[in-house]
Symmetry: C4
Subunit: 355 residues, 4 copies
């Protein structure tokens, strides 16, 4: 293969580079992987309605998320254990993201701290993805450190009171190396648990809407709820003070049988009615995917596997190039839709695919 | 293969263990096997609407069927001739079911009597699946023995006035061994008929609604009608005093072209309107399948092939493990749906899949 | 293969027996063969609504067509050139049909005359399929002979003003043997044309509604219109005195892109509203197909390829067995639907398949 | 292969004849080639409603486009760089089109001038496909020459402010030979750019509705807008004086995710309401495709790849034969639909396919 032309090319490169365990963990889903496949399939259920003879000689893909300008409406999603994919882990991802003009959400199971990431990539937009441990002291420390490190939002994942079974991991015998640095989770985990299920078993399954107050009290950061897929929960999120919602099904890795995120987006966007920002993750592989999500009401998307394919294939440069591919493809899509910026994308630019 | 992770794993193990005849009989359907495939395909036509930030730290899968508590909303369906799959036949199945906290429906074509089963697995919940023979004396004896053995319900199968042709059986030349014990059917069959079609030809195709009275008169047990798939018949069942309905198409083994049971469930549940309990069988392979059936109005499901794959692969332990897999998967599904028990599952937790 | 269990089995046997030319001609469709495939696919778009606990101990498949009793609601469709498939041609087909208690529609391109057929199978129900030649004298003779031979209806094919191109025939170089007897067409054709397209080019493409009068004047037989697929034409057929309509797309061999006949049947049946009998052909391979057509408003079906697979595989006996398979499968379907005769099948026994 | 029977046959012949670069460029689409596939798939989403017993002994496929009679409602679409496919390039295409009684749209990236084409095929109907260069002087010269050469319309392509990335081209390393004659584009391009993306980068992405006036001022020819797929733009086109609209997605080569043209046609035809002529391109491979487009409101279609398959396979004769295949297939379709001319095709002859 010569220069990769698409995220699909990076996916093939990553598969060549990675051992079976990390590859299974990165790409697999839960159960029968129905939702995993649906996340991709849903994009084909929506088609564009392009407008012609607009002046599209100047196009910008820039937007803001929670008030911060990013050059593309794509943030790197919180992917756990990134040192599995590249020796520099989240630091390389952050440098790639920064080079592409955007930021990174850092997992509770990150192998690098926000301080290390800020040091490697000064000024990069960082969000803190939060899992609440049964040991609330660990979570308290996590939130304190995060605020100190210049993090700009807490992304509370709400679709993981338990970790779903992912058969691919079990079939290849995937284990987390016991020396993997986990600055925010190791205190809770200790040395023993080597598989994700055991590590995640330490999370607090009792977290409910009223815990949002506690989190808000521990940190002055805006709270983003990740994992909402219904109008009812979207309305509750707004009522409970969430600053934004990520329509997410955890990349098809939690409850198998949940809708594709693109299919859930319209009902969430409608329920929110512009009161908070709405993002989407799941299945983003093309700039046209980004455009479809934006036309259906998302302000931005998060992309996880795509940038990590780049990370595994070529480190920081791979992350950057993957994001640039999305940028270039989105620029083209905007141009051919008759739009000069993400803001111009409307519900009128998209419709259900004919069947 | 190491420890089986799913019913699909048990299916592969069972295929390795069984001769072609029993395998064909167990897994085949009638006609072109369209309904057989639809039973599975229908689960993908419904997707979940999970709710987040509920306290799901404590989850129970227990429920009751006809007033009897079971630890999982899954009863083992009546599968004929179980000695074909394991030397201990229905006794092993019952022990496995009991170990998993549930019960077993025992076929008229069982190779073990209810007494033998009760002896092997004291206290296990047993239901008697009933076919009415042309020789009503045989059926009279059946009902008398069943009541004496502590059976708690009569499950009258109403979709089999004739046995459908199952080409797989004929192509592999499947025959019932002439020495197979059939405590409830042998008196009617005698020694000769070696294929299911001939044995079933002795059933009474004239059985109609007014025969329910006769059956009720022969036994004080509640009557469950198995094989109802329309609102019209569901209403008639209620009017004729049925205690429960099983939405069933005989596992795709009777009329090919009948809807998947999951597709028929909503109309039956709506017609019944809570007046009697509604169960479903057909295509249950995952805990998420159970959750979808419950969300659409079923109180419990019956699983046939799944537990018998376990039986063929590992006897009693296999049955138990298959049921535990369903329990664990259902527990996870409840948790990720924001529910702490089967009762909390509602029609609002499910919707048609986007197309 | 042992005893064939289904029409699909006969299809495989026929393929083994026939040369590539006759096989291509028998099984091929026009254009991209989309309609050919749709004819089969449409049956999966309708599912049954079976009723239970009806007394189905006695079942009859008998019905009448235009007042003549037949033991199954299946007539053998007019298939041209049957000597290509068996030395006895239409005579063997008629004997097989008679043995199964039904009749045969005899093509204008039959290789046996109605007299020969009547002699081989005394009393068999015969219909005359009519193409109108540009040389009306040939058609006049055809109608005169037919009436004298005891034929009971004229089946005017209205979907073939020109013969569609069938690429399979051309690719294998299929030609009609020049010595093939064609008692009703040879006078028009003469000796030269060896491919169906040339033979059919002699038909009169100007035939229109007003020609029905001429045909009626040449014969006192009831006229059946074969090839109607719209409500508009169905109403015109009734207004112009047709005795029956066959919803047909010529087995997917004429205009590619026409709907499956099962999809067209409801609109035709509704438009006709019982004023004339409605039949269907196209894609009949199972007794359940027959049941679906009847539930949607057909009084009977015509089956072409199925019986001819039997003819090619085993002559008269093959035709009889194919029809008996349909009879047995239909009997089972009626039984499992809770019906004791074709008349009891209603629109309520069928619904669109869930998607 | 003997005589090609269909455009699919010509496609296979062309693939054998062409090098990988031109083949990729000719047949590829943009992105994931979803729209490319949809263009074909959409034809299967519409089925015919044929009328019977009409007098169809005389059938004509002739029609007019912008007042010019053509023998078939098919014009050759503007395909760039035709010398890549045959040494005589557009001259051979024009001769083939003229032999079939129709005309050709000549690309801005044509390898032959309108004068050369007129000289090779005197009197052939020529339209000028127009891209507007940033260097308006080049476009001015183009329009002047075109008017002088007897061209009858300007076809302004409005879906290409930028060229979409076509991965197939990049994977095979396709380049435009630097000595390829480009009478209308070379002045803007100069010698260097060897790939289509670089050549097309010289187009003016600022062209908007108000530029139609400038174009109209440079030429007295009617302006046809190619690339409209929405009702909104169709109405604007009429308001801005367009003489006709081509519903086109650039053969699936521009924005991937745009609807199939056949799916977009009804909304455009309805919005236009007969005020200007509507044509369609994209996916035309069969005469039945033409018939479907006409029934849905197109006056004619443009076919690009099909005729160029003929060009690559057999030069002028191949183009002619491809168009004759479409003519013969359309004649058959009209005949079997009960129509004697394109004008008789109505919305009532087509409906959505059952699903």
């Amino acid at each position: 293969m010569n220069v990769p032309l698409s995220i699909a090319d990076y996916e093939r490169l990553a598969e060549e580079r990675l051992e079976s365990g990390p590859w299974a963990y990165l790409t697999g889903g839960s159960g029968d992987e129905w939702t995993l496949r649906e996340n991709r399939a849903a994009f084909a259920r929506w088609t564009f309605r392009p407008r012609v003879l607009c002046d599209v000689s100047e196009i910008s893909t820039a937007t803001t998320v929670l008030g911060t300008r990013i050059e593309i409406p794509v943030v790197v999603a919180p992917v756990a254990y990134q040192q599995l994919y590249h020796p520099d882990g989240e630091c390389a991802t952050a440098r790639g993201a920064a080079a592409a003009g955007t930021g990174i959400a850092v997992s509770t199971f990150s192998t690098r701290s926000h301080e290390e990431i800020a040091s490697a990539s000064p000024g990069v937009l960082q969000w803190c993805q939060l899992y609440v441990f049964q040991d609330r002291g660990v979570t308290h420390e996590h939130l304190v450190e995060v605020a100190a490190a210049g993090c700009r939002a807490v992304v509370l994942t709400v679709d993981t009171p338990r970790l779903a079974q992912r058969e691919r991991d079990l079939r290849v015998g995937f284990e987390i190396p016991s020396d993997l640095p986990l600055p925010y989770a190791r205190a809770a985990i200790g040395d023993a648990p080597k598989n994700p299920a055991d590590q995640f078993a330490l999370l607090d399954a009792s977290v409910s809407w009223r815990d949002l107050e506690w989190i808000a009290g521990e940190s002055n950061l805006p709270i983003v709820l990740k994992g909402v897929v219904t109008a009812e929960d979207a309305r509750l999120a707004v009522e409970h003070g969430a600053a934004a919602i990520i329509v997410s099904n955890h990349g098809g890795r939690q409850l198998d049988g949940v809708p594709a995120t693109l299919d859930a987006l319209p009902e969430v966007a409608e329920a929110v009615a512009g009161r908070v920002e709405v993002y989407l993750d799941g299945g983003i592989r093309r700039g046209t995917d980004v455009a479809k999500a934006l036309a259906l009401g998302a302000r931005a998307v998060l992309a996880g596997r795509g940038p990590v394919f780049g990370l595994a294939a070529a480190g920081e440069d791979g992350v950057r190039h993957v994001l640039e591919l999305l940028r270039d493809e989105l620029t083209l899509a905007l141009c051919l839709l008759g739009c000069t910026s993400p803001d111009e994308l409307t519900r009128g630019h998209i419709q259900r695919t004919a069947t």
